[in-house]
């Protein structure tokens, strides 16, 4: 194994449990990841020793809390290789981050301007753009698929000189496909468009360098990378963030406040109104530390190892359809599938009886599921704590499910 899997698993107490009389096999990390003891300890220690409100306090605890909070921002900056801490905004998650970018779009879009997204996007990277288009008279266009991947020829026709925003997912939460966002950013910039990347399913699993990608905005969530819920990041290039209006207003993001007006604080705090999710950001910093210690490239390789192990076994199962690219190098550890003759709900319930936790439904991607002409899919997804034995259990449980339902 590329990583010390037994040691890593021992960090995740939650995995050591019985569900429905079977050992838990957690294959739903694309929905949310489990948290290692190290992250839980840091959050607990913060509340037990350092908790105070940040930025304004003069007393010692306030100084410690502020130092911890801002240290997390620096950890995230380094993790994604942003050029400045001013470009790292803490948000509630990827959805909030993408909503903010779409709000910025509302600020600058004119009628007949175009927004280009893909048919495989998560609802959080579709609905805010629908709203922006409706409010400004801009037009929302979709790039479709070819052979389970983004059709780059289609993308090249869809991005024109009228395109102002291109927003694409780095890794699909259904198809698992890794999109060439660096190349797409180049195409966007050639046409004068702003490039936005949904990094929710990439950042936890592979190395991300926002300067190398040269994207203008990049969003991701803490809870999908072994961090707590309620915290995420919006990266934005400084020049754009300076242009962008704050989304929320109140304390912390202001400089001078008069009766009828106020001025804003500098970046990044211009975008952080109110008391932030201090424990959340500190937990996210701890998660970054944890992942760096394992090695993000090792994590990516581990998931490739799992895919290389399980995919041949899955593809052998008669009546099983797997969506997304055939080539494992082209995908992250997300496997959406269907069994002929059985609805994903029934598959998921049966797998649950075997202790195997997968997701079933639209995965917040209705347009994609409709485009694939499916009612829904089941989805298994891996993370650092999954093993070859977990893969075996998934395969076995699917076979038992087939036998039970006679499909």
């Amino acid at each position: 194994m590329t990583i010390e899997i037994e040691k890593i698993r021992s960090d995740f107490q939650i995995l050591d449990q019985i569900v429905n009389d079977e050992p838990l096999v957690y294959l739903d990390s694309a929905a949310t990841t489990q948290k290692p003891q190290q992250v839980l300890d840091v959050i607990r220690a913060y509340y037990e020793h350092d908790n105070a409100n940040v930025h304004r306090g003069v007393h010692t605890l306030a100084e410690r809390a502020t130092a911890d909070y801002e240290a997390s921002r620096d950890k995230v900056r380094a993790f994604i290789n942003a050029s400045s801490r001013k470009e790292v905004l803490f948000t509630r998650g990827t959805t909030t981050a993408l909503n903010w970018v779409a709000k910025f779009a509302e600020q600058i879009l004119q009628p007949e301007d175009e927004i280009v997204i893909s048919i495989m996007e998560h609802h959080s990277n579709i609905i805010p753009w629908q709203q922006a288009a409706a409010k400004t008279g801009a037009i929302l266009k979709f790039v479709y698929l070819k052979d389970g991947e983004l059709d780059m020829a289609d993308l090249r026709t869809k991005v024109t000189n009228r395109t102002k925003f291109v927003s694409i997912t780095h890794v699909s939460n259904v198809l698992g496909v890794i999109n060439p966002v660096k190349e797409i950013a180049q195409i966007a910039h050639e046409h004068g468009a702003i490039m936005v990347v949904d990094g929710a399913q990439s950042t936890p699993h592979m190395s991300v360098d926002v300067q190398d990608l040269n994207c203008d905005f990049f969003a991701f969530s803490g809870h999908k990378m072994a961090g707590p819920t309620g915290i995420g990041v919006l990266y934005g290039k400084e020049a754009l963030l300076n242009q962008m209006n704050p989304i929320e207003f109140g304390g912390e993001m202001i400089d001078f406040v008069y009766e009828q007006s106020a001025t804003w604080k500098e970046l990044p705090w211009k975008f952080e109104a109110g008391t932030p999710n201090i424990a959340g950001s500190i937990g996210l910093g701890a998660a970054v530390d944890y992942l760096i210690e394992i090695g993000i490239d090792n994590i990516h390789q581990h998931e490739q190892d799992l895919l290389n192990y399980v995919m041949p076994k899955l593809r052998e199962i008669e009546g099983l359809t797997i969506y997304g690219p055939e080539d494992n190098h082209r995908r992250g550890g997300v496997i959406a599938f269907n069994l002929d003759g059985l609805h994903p709900h029934d598959v998921a319930t049966a797998l649950d009886m075997e202790g195997v936790a997968v997701r079933a439904g639209h995965h917040c991607a209705q347009p994609l599921i409709d485009y694939l002409d499916l009612p829904a899919t089941a989805r298994a997804s891996f993370y650092i704590y999954n093993t070859f034995a977990d893969c075996d259990k998934l395969v076995e449980a699917i076979k038992l499910t087939k036998a039970f339902f006679g499909v």
Partner: protein, 157 residues
């Protein structure tokens, strides 16, 4: 074997209803209203005809899991020919049953009573109640008059 736990939920009668659902299709004359809840991946379109407050015809369409399909099939068998007040009462009886309450009146549900096992699978309760909820909305919309009401619903897991 672990999957034997499913025997109570996926009884043969239920699987039969699911693979060969009764009253499947759409009624010719009627309007369709779409109720979308996207969380789950089931879509049911329900259409019915009322005459003097009695359900004279009913049909359902769409694609759904075994539980939602079987439940819709059983529901249509049970309510056809009944007055809308009685159908609404049956909807409540069904809803209580799948949440674990036992009650003699559940016999009135016909085959629907066999879905009592859903109570042990809380994540699937809304699959079972989907068709009954669509029925309630259709009846409430038409208010017992001679109208054809059509409704679709998504299962909310």
């Amino acid at each position: 074997m672990a999957l034997s736990k499913l025997d109570n939920l996926y009884r043969q009668v239920i699987l039969d209803h699911s693979s060969h659902p009764h009253h499947h299709g759409q009624l010719q004359d009627g309007e369709t209203v779409d109720l979308n809840n996207p969380t789950c991946g089931d879509v049911i379109k329900l259409s019915l005809k009322l005459d003097g407050g009695t359900i004279t015809d009913i049909a359902f369409d769409g694609s759904g899991c075994s539980i939602s399909t079987a439940s819709a099939s059983m529901m249509t068998d049970t309510v056809i020919g009944k007055k809308s007040e009685e159908a609404l009462e049956l909807a409540d009886i069904f809803s209580e049953m799948v949440q674990g309450k036992t009650d003699d009146r559940q016999e009135k549900l016909g085959d629907g009573a066999l879905l009592s096992g859903v109570a042990k699978f809380p994540q699937r309760i809304k699959c079972a109640t989907l068709a009954w909820n669509a029925l309630k909305k259709a009846l409430e919309n038409s208010n017992g008059s001679s109208e054809v009401a059509n409704l679709s619903g998504h299962c909310e897991i």
